[in-house]
């Protein structure tokens, strides 16, 4: 009974802290713009099955992609075991889901195998981060705390897998000594159990309890660590894929407020329906209040893997732009100013995301080639927010590079980005000759 009480209290604390965190994030989301409607649920589900559950984009780097996919699929299976632990912890039962019979054996048997596979994969990931100088994990945006965060998250997962295997191993040993029926099959742990036959019964009992508690308490801690970590992606990447932008990568969103103005310009008599919005509208994105809620969701779901930056032509050729940094800056800026803005939406600290976090040089280095968006395993669209910030620079401040301003002028005055007269648009066609013998084929 005392065990159940301690468990219940830990669970309450976990849920309590998590609720606090979620409410904080909801308040942050409310600061952003609600301009990303969710339609086409069927298509979204199929993308989610393919890209998130099927891990198709992560496989674009096949070796590490496969390791990640194993970790992901293993997590899905092992999650059932965590649910069982919560049931057991509250009800004082042992292996309560055992009633599932064959299904239980399949899930827990594969979970046992996955625990070993995940531990192996995590060790490789840690070795890559700690001992190999992987270019993708470096860059101006990758500070000490980012590396530390990654290593803490990986270490916690490794501990989770070790305690899970420990729990299974000593469960087997303990149950057999007490003459209990074994619930489930454990291919890996039954092998490990053979090494511990020399331990005393009390030691085996203790080690089972220890691993059980360690495992669940690490889960409770991990659950509350994640929202403050780049590993928030454990929660958010599947939903983020569900929330993918559905248009082709080449699409940039239309700005309806501009459409209204342009229609009035082209036809001053056009009757425009009155819009609800009051006040002067700002064009484009300068700070965190101007982004869409989906931009913020992207920033929270990003796990800083750097696949975007690794394929960015600007970054590859030494320019300052790193698509990963742009996404990380969104999150960082909200973290800096979010609490103050929640208290007072007119709060200003004299800084903006544009310039104080993201420089013009970065924005103007983008070729909008969409390699970053193509690569992102969770379908973040980096070019759209880059263009949104360019929109602010150009339309609010006329602060684009002078060559681009010249290009705009040319388009405006003569309908081409170069300084050629529109009346000369057919000169290219004046002297086209075709070989006669082929002309009438």
């Amino acid at each position: 009974m005392i065990k159940q009480l301690i468990f219940g209290a830990s669970l309450l604390i976990t849920i309590g802290v998590l609720t606090y965190t979620i409410r904080k994030y909801i308040a942050y989301f409310k600061l952003t713009k609600m301009n990303f409607p969710i339609r086409n649920i069927g298509k979204r589900i199929s993308i989610m099955l393919e890209v998130a559950i099927g891990q198709t984009k992560i496989f674009r780097r096949p070796v590490l992609g496969f390791l990640h996919a194993l970790v992901f699929w293993g997590f899905c299976v092992i999650l059932v075991g965590s649910v069982e632990m919560v049931v057991d912890g509250l009800a004082g039962t042992e292996r309560a889901l055992g009633v599932l019979g064959l299904v239980y054996n399949i899930i827990f048997g594969s979970g046992d195998v996955f625990a070993l596979i995940i531990a192996f994969a995590i060790i490789i990931f840690l070795v890559r981060r700690l001992f190999l100088n992987v270019k993708r994990f470096n860059g101006i945006e990758m500070k000490h705390k980012n590396h530390l965060d990654a290593n803490i998250a990986l270490s916690l997962i490794l501990l989770l897998m070790i305690t899970l295997l420990g729990m299974n191993t000593f469960y087997l040993e303990n149950a057999s000594r007490l003459g209990h029926d074994i619930v489930g099959v454990y291919p890996v742990s039954s092998f490990f159990a053979t090494f511990f036959s020399g331990l005393s019964d009390a030691r085996v009992y203790f080690l089972h309890e220890f691993n059980w508690w360690a495992h669940i308490l690490i889960i409770f801690f991990f659950a509350n660590y994640l929202p403050y970590s780049k590993h928030f992606h454990v929660y958010l990447s599947v939903p983020n894929v569900f929330l993918s932008r559905l248009q082709p990568l080449g699409y940039l969103s239309n700005m309806p407020n501009i459409t209204k103005e342009v229609k009035l310009m082209l036809d001053p008599n056009a009757a425009m329906p009155e819009t609800e919005e009051e006040g002067i509208e700002k064009f484009g994105v300068a700070d965190i209040q101007d982004i869409s809620w989906k931009n913020y969701f992207d920033s929270l779901a990003c796990t800083q893997c750097g696949r975007c930056t690794a394929v960015c032509p600007a970054n590859i050729t030494g320019k300052k732009l790193s698509p990963r940094k742009i996404i990380m800056d969104v999150r960082a800026r909200m973290k800096e100013v979010g609490d103050e803005l929640v208290k007072n939406k007119d709060f200003t600290d004299g800084k903006t995301m544009l310039r104080d976090y993201i420089s013009e040089e970065e924005l103007w280095a983008c070729t909008t080639c969409n390699a970053c968006a193509q690569e992102c395993p969770i379908n973040i669209n980096h070019p759209s927010i880059i263009v949104d910030m360019r929109r602010y620079l150009v339309m609010e401040e006329a602060a684009g590079p002078s060559e681009l301003n010249a290009m705009f002028n040319n388009i405006e005055n003569n309908g081409a980005p170069w300084q050629f007269n529109q009346q000369d648009r057919m000169l290219w066609a004046e002297e086209i000759y075709m070989n006669k013998n082929n002309a009438d084929a």
Binding site: C369, N370, P383, L393, I411, P417, I432, M434
Partner: protein, 266 residues
């Protein structure tokens, strides 16, 4: 002009419409196709193919203007929408239903972005148009000087990644009997030429290399006879790359339309 040549009169939409005719296709030449000295040759080559095959088409001529694509990507949404709405008005006035263009950027904005402003048309990139003609047996290519030559194809971002069209241009190259060699970064992994998003019209930001050099070096590892492209920006950048590497005399940079026109001896 030489006696064995005949002059092509490119049909103008306004003229044909005045005669009560409604051409099946509008050929969108694009600003580069009309003004860029190198890309004019691509427009001319494509016109020869259209004429050779008796395709029912017309161009807008002096009524054509910028698609607005670069303006939008460079952040000038106002200018983009002015261009788009004006173009849509013209398309609708001529009851345009199908638009062919050699420019993947125009293709992308017409196809994906004009519908937001109520401009809905069937948009065909010239690589898709040529591929369909070959597939349908309308465009037949027999023996030609390119047969067996080594070609590598540089994917334009706005045809490839942006719109998922990787196969049509490759099938055209294969139909010519060219030996297609793929760069390490190809199709959805392709490296940009460096000209998109307004870069064509400005100095590159500070860095340690130009993007087009990085890309042409990748192409050169294959030792090709031809670097094929299907985009005006890519053409400028790849040609610059070949010049920079002093390879312009050995390795030719052609648009797929030029290869077809030459293969047919048009």
């Amino acid at each position: 002009m030489e006696e064995n040549k005949i002059k092509i009169n490119v049909p103008i939409m306004a003229d044909r419409f005045a005669k009560g005719e409604k051409p099946e296709y509008l050929f969108w030449v694009g600003s580069a196709g009309a003004f860029d000295d190198r890309y004019k040759k691509v427009s001319q080559a494509f016109i020869k193919i259209l004429t050779y095959l008796n395709i029912d088409y017309a161009v807008l001529g002096v009524e054509e203007s910028s698609s607005g694509d670069i303006a939008r990507r460079a952040g000038n949404e106002m200018l983009f929408q002015m261009q788009a709405m004006t173009n849509i008005e013209i398309f609708n006035a001529y009851e345009v239903a199908k638009i062919i263009t050699c420019d993947p950027h125009a293709y992308n904005t017409f196809k994906n972005e004009y519908p937001d402003l109520d401009g809905n048309y069937e948009i065909i990139h010239h690589s898709q148009f040529l591929q369909k003609l070959i597939e349908d047996g309308i465009l037949k290519i027999d023996a030609n000087p390119f047969k067996g030559k080594k070609v590598t194809y540089h994917d334009p971002c706005y045809l490839g990644r942006a719109n998922g069209e990787y196969e049509a241009p490759r099938m055209v190259l294969k139909a010519l009997g060219l030996k297609l060699l793929e760069m390490p970064r190809n199709k959805s992994f392709a490296l940009c030429c460096g000209a998109g998003g307004g870069q064509m019209f400005k100095e590159a930001e500070k860095g340690d290399k130009e993007i087009f050099i990085e890309r042409i070096e990748e192409a050169l590892t294959l030792n090709p006879d031809v670097v094929a492209t299907a985009c005006p920006y890519c053409m400028v950048m790849m040609t610059d790359g070949l010049k920079y590497k002093d390879k312009i005399d050995e390795i030719k940079n052609y648009d797929i339309a030029e290869l077809i026109a030459q293969a047919l001896d048009l």
